[in-house]
């Protein structure tokens, strides 16, 4: 792939970086990133990856834009309320950068569908807000040997880590989902909108650095910040030999939905 004149101008601020250059920008343009969730985290990730020229962006989200989303989900605008989030996000991506091919999945991810979706991508972004999805994404990426960026936000706090095959995974840290109701969601506890932006842009930077193959990713490191006092810290984590999915005697060998929905009509129709 060689860059045309318009691309050279569009990506000139990348190209002058010695760690990117024309070669790195070509890698970005050839890159395929899947963004699971186009909410608080997925919105900034999608905007930055679109602007950066990531050639293929996959967007998965079953939801429609709601008024309460607009406080932080910056890819969605007031006239989008009621529109499927993947459609709203796709329109903005195309408006920012026609170089990008957008593939939308207006659905949740399930144990029986996720592997088929992630296999076509180089890097996965976890922008989901619930633990069933987070653990499913982790397991699918571990079993499918796909790198992914974990992101979590709550109130003024954020945390992120990048899984790469052979290294510590999300289950190494947390084992399994917390008991239902033990951890409040953003809709119950609140979230400073800018925290979603801070964390999402870190995840976008991880994806870009993965594609260009430069720098040290947040692998085996959990970055934690508190935006109320604006303090950052980093915890070095090691692969956990007791990890149920990547440890020495893994108990998880196939994907299962952690919390199969019992009263979801859409899911019942599928099965």
């Amino acid at each position: 792939m060689s860059l045309n004149d318009e691309q050279i101008e569009r990506y000139s601020r990348h190209i002058i970086l010695k760690d990117i250059g024309v070669e790195g920008q070509e890698k970005i343009l050839a890159g395929k990133v899947l963004i699971l969730g186009t909410g608080g985290l997925g919105a900034p990730v999608a905007l930055y990856l679109a602007a950066a020229g990531v050639g293929t962006l996959g967007l998965a989200d079953p939801d429609h834009v709601e008024l309460s989303n607009l406080q932080r989900q910056v890819i969605h605008f007031a006239p989008d309320v009621g529109k499927p989030k993947v459609v709203s996000a796709s329109e903005k991506i195309q408006a920012i950068n026609p170089d990008i091919q957008v593939i939308t999945y207006q659905t949740r991810v399930f144990a029986d569908t996720i592997a088929g979706i992630i296999k076509d991508y180089d890097f996965i972004i976890d922008g989901t807000d619930n633990f069933a999805a987070k653990f499913l994404i982790n397991d699918a990426c571990v079993l499918g040997a796909k790198p992914f960026s974990h992101g979590g936000i709550l109130r003024f706090d954020g945390q992120t880590m990048t899984y790469q095959p052979g290294h510590a995974c999300y289950r190494c840290l947390f084992g399994g989902p917390p008991p239902k109701g033990a951890v409040p969601s953003c809709s119950q506890a609140g979230i400073l909108g800018a925290v979603a932006g801070m964390l999402g842009t870190i995840q976008a930077a991880e994806a870009l650095r993965f594609l260009i193959g430069k720098g040290e990713l947040l692998t085996d490191r959990l970055l934690i910040f508190n935006a109320l006092d604006m303090k950052f810290r980093e915890v070095t984590v090691r692969k956990n030999p007791r990890c149920p999915v990547c440890g020495k005697n893994p108990s998880i060998k196939t994907l299962v939905d952690e919390e199969p929905p019992v009263c979801d009509l859409k899911h019942q129709k599928r099965s």
């Binding site: 976890d126 840290l173 947390f174 090691r238």
Partner: protein, 80 residues
């Protein structure tokens, strides 16, 4: 004893302390919400009561955090 908690050294006035007791002192309401590393190794939740800390140990608490994909929670529709 001095224990480094989340990177910050804290003086704790006791000579005997388990991970579970430290969680209470540190006001971690529900131990189910936290993952604990002691000197870089994960401590299983079932060992919180029996794992004893010593002077100059380093403990890191990591909390579960969700994300921002959902606008509002709808029961039974919580996967992504």
């Amino acid at each position: 004893m001095n224990i480094k908690i989340n990177g910050k050294v804290e003086a704790i006035k006791t000579t005997s302390l388990t991970v579970a007791e430290l969680l209470r002192i540190a006001k971690v309401g529900n131990p189910e919400m936290v993952s604990v590393q002691l000197n870089g190794e994960f401590v299983s939740k079932e060992n919180f009561d029996t794992t004893r800390l010593k002077h100059e140990d380093a403990v890191d608490f990591m909390y579960f955090m969700g994300g921002g994909a959902r606008g509002r929670s709808v029961p039974g529709r919580e996967l992504l």
